[in-house]
C-alpha cells in the first residue's frame, strides 16, 4: 500500500427524489489499499460504491479517479470506467455469450485487443479461478459461485487499477461463498486496490487495511479492522457490531 491517492471523493452528495442517501462525504482510497465498507442496509454503502464509477451520478460533489473529476460532464466516462472493475451482487454475466466471449467482449471492443490475444488472456484468467473447463459453455450452465468468478475475471480482463465489489457474496448459497472469497483474496495478494461492500465481517476483518462503517449517508467511523471491531468509538458502530457479530 502506497500513499498515492487513487480515488478521492469531495463533498459527495446523492439524493433520490427527496431522500438523501449520501451526505457530504469526503474520503480517499489509496493505491494498493483494501477497504471494506460495512454497515446497515439503506446506509448508503452501495450508492457510495456506485458513485465511484459514476453508475450513480452524484447530486453534487467531486469524484476524482487518478486525478480526473469523473463527475464533470465533459469527461469521457467510458475510458475511465475501463480502469475501474466492478463486480455486482447479481453477477450480471452476459447470458447470450459463452464464458470465453464474456471475458473477451470488452477488451476486443474497447481496447482493440486482437481476438487471439484476448482469448489467450481469457484462458489464462479462467485458469486462475478454476473455470478453464467451462470456457465454451453459456452462463446458464454455471453455478452462482462460478458465475461470480466469471464476473470477476471479466472485469480483470480490462486490467483495471481498482476493483469495486458490491456485496459479491450476498446472492450466493453458503457453500459457494468461500470459493468467491478465495478469488478475492488472491487478488489482494497480487496487490490490487480493492473497495468492497460486504456483510462478511470475518472476511473484512481478515483482509482489510481499513474499514468504513457507513450509516445514514455518512462514513460514521473508519479505521483499521482492530480499531473498528475491537475499539469502536461511535454508538452506532457498536450497536451495529453487536447485532452482526
Amino acid at each position: 500500500m502506497s500513499d498515492r491517492e487513487l480515488i478521492r471523493v469531495e463533498n459527495l452528495c446523492k439524493s433520490f427524489k427527496n431522500l438523501e442517501v449520501l451526505r457530504n462525504i469526503t474520503e480517499s482510497i489509496y493505491e494498493g489499499e483494501v477497504v471494506s465498507i460495512i454497515g446497515p442496509s439503506g446506509g448508503g454503502k452501495s450508492t457510495f460504491l456506485r458513485c465511484l464509477n459514476l453508475l450513480e451520478r452524484p447530486t453534487s460533489g467531486k469524484v476524482f479517479f487518478e486525478g480526473t473529476n469523473l463527475a464533470e460532464k465533459k469527461v469521457d466516462i467510458d475510458k475511465h470506467r475501463q480502469k475501474i472493475g466492478m463486480v455486482f451482487q447479481s453477477f450480471n454475466v452476459f447470458p447470450h455469450l459463452t464464458v470465453l466471449e464474456n471475458i473477451m467482449l470488452a477488451p476486443t471492443l474497447e481496447k482493440n485487443v486482437p481476438k487471439e490475444e484476448g482469448e489467450k488472456q481469457a484462458i489464462e484468467l479462467l485458469g486462475r479461478v478454476g473455470l478453464l473447463e467451462k470456457k465454451n459453455v453459456y452462463p446458464n450452465q454455471l453455478s452462482g459461485g462460478q458465475k461470480q468468478r466469471l464476473a470477476i475475471v471479466r472485469a480483470l480482463a480490462m486490467e483495471p487499477d481498482v476493483m469495486l465489489f458490491d456485496e459479491p457474496t450476498s446472492a450466493l448459497d453458503p457453500e459457494m461463498v468461500k470459493e468467491v472469497l478465495e478469488v478475492i483474496k488472491n487478488l489482494i495478494v497480487s496487490g490490487m486496490t480493492i473497495v468492497i461492500v460486504t456483510h462478511e465481517m470475518n472476511f473484512a476483518k481478515e483482509v482489510s487495511d481499513r474499514i468504513f462503517f457507513m450509516d445514514n449517508g455518512i462514513i460514521e467511523e473508519k479505521g483499521t479492522p482492530d480499531e473498528i471491531f475491537n475499539h469502536a468509538k461511535s454508538e452506532r458502530t457498536l450497536e451495529f457490531l453487536s447485532k452482526v457479530l
Binding site: 455486482f88 453477477f91 467482449l105 471492443l109
Partner: protein, 221 residues
C-alpha cells in the same frame, strides 16, 4: 358451393394472383419500412431526451388510439394537399400503413429492450463499453429474443390490415375479391377463395417465424 368456388378460381385465378402480388408487395414494404421507422421511434423514445420522448409518446398514442381505417382516410385526404408533388392513392395508403405499423413496432421494440435486465446495462457500462457497443453487443442481442414473438404477431397483423387498402381500390387481394364479386355477383365463393389465399400467406409467415425463433433458442443453449 364447391363447384362455384372451383369455377370462379379457374375463370378468375389471374385476378386473385394479381391481388396476391399486390398484397405481398404492400405487406413487404409496410413491414420493412415500418420496422425501420419503428426502430427509429423506439430509439427516440428510449433516448431519455425529454423532447424526443414527448414527441414519440404522442405519436404512438395517437396512432394506436385511432382506428386504422380513419388514419387511411386521413392520409389519403391530407397527403396530396401538403406535399408539393403528385401522390397516387396507392402511395398515400402505403405511407399511412407504414406510419401506422411503425407505432406498433416501436412499442414492441421498446418493451423488448426495456425487458432486458438493468444489471446487463450496468455490467456493460462498468466494463467501459460505449453506449453504441453496449446496445449492439449486449442489449439488442438479448432484446431480440423478447421482441421476436411479438414482432411476428405484428407482421401478421400488418399483412391482414393491408386489406383495408381495398376501400381505396388499391390493387391487392381484397380489391380482387370486390372485382370478381362485382363481375359475377358470387360474393361468398369469392370471399372463401380470398380468405384461403390470406390463410396460406399467414400460415407460411407464422411457421417461418416459429422456425427462426426456435433456431435462436437453440443457439442460446
Amino acid at each position: 358451393m364447391i363447384e362455384s368456388i372451383i369455377g370462379l378460381w379457374t375463370k378468375y385465378d389471374y385476378v386473385y394472383l394479381n391481388g396476391l402480388i399486390g398484397t405481398l408487395w404492400l405487406s413487404a414494404i409496410t413491414v420493412v419500412l415500418g420496422t425501420l421507422l419503428g426502430t427509429l421511434i423506439a430509439i427516440m423514445k428510449l433516448s431519455k431526451i425529454w423532447i424526443l420522448e414527448a414527441i414519440t409518446t404522442i405519436y404512438i398514442g395517437i396512432l394506436r388510439g385511432v382506428p386504422i381505417l380513419l388514419q387511411l382516410y386521413f392520409f389519403w385526404l391530407i397527403l396530396p394537399k401538403v406535399v408539393p408533388f403528385a401522390l397516387s392513392d396507392t402511395a398515400c395508403i402505403v405511407i399511412a400503413l407504414i406510419i401506422n405499423a411503425s407505432s406498433y413496432i416501436a412499442e414492441v421494440i421498446r418493451a423488448g429492450v426495456q425487458a432486458v435486465d438493468k444489471g446487463q446495462t450496468e455490467a456493460a457500462k462498468s466494463l467501459g463499453l460505449s453506449n453504441r457497443n453496449m446496445m449492439r453487443k449486449v442489449i439488442l442481442p438479448q432484446a431480440i429474443k423478447n421482441i421476436l414473438p411479438a414482432l411476428g404477431n405484428e407482421y401478421i397483423t400488418t399483412v391482414k390490415q393491408t386489406s383495408l387498402a381495398s376501400v381505396f381500390f388499391v390493387a391487392e387481394l381484397m380489391t380482387s375479391y370486390k372485382t370478381v364479386q362485382a363481375a359475377t355477383f358470387l360474393a361468398v365463393p369469392s370471399l372463401v377463395i380470398t380468405g384461403l389465399i390470406y390463410l396460406v400467406v399467414t400460415t407460411i409467415l407464422t411457421s417461418g417465424l416459429n422456425m427462426y425463433e426456435r433456431r435462436m433458442q437453440i443457439n442460446e443453449r
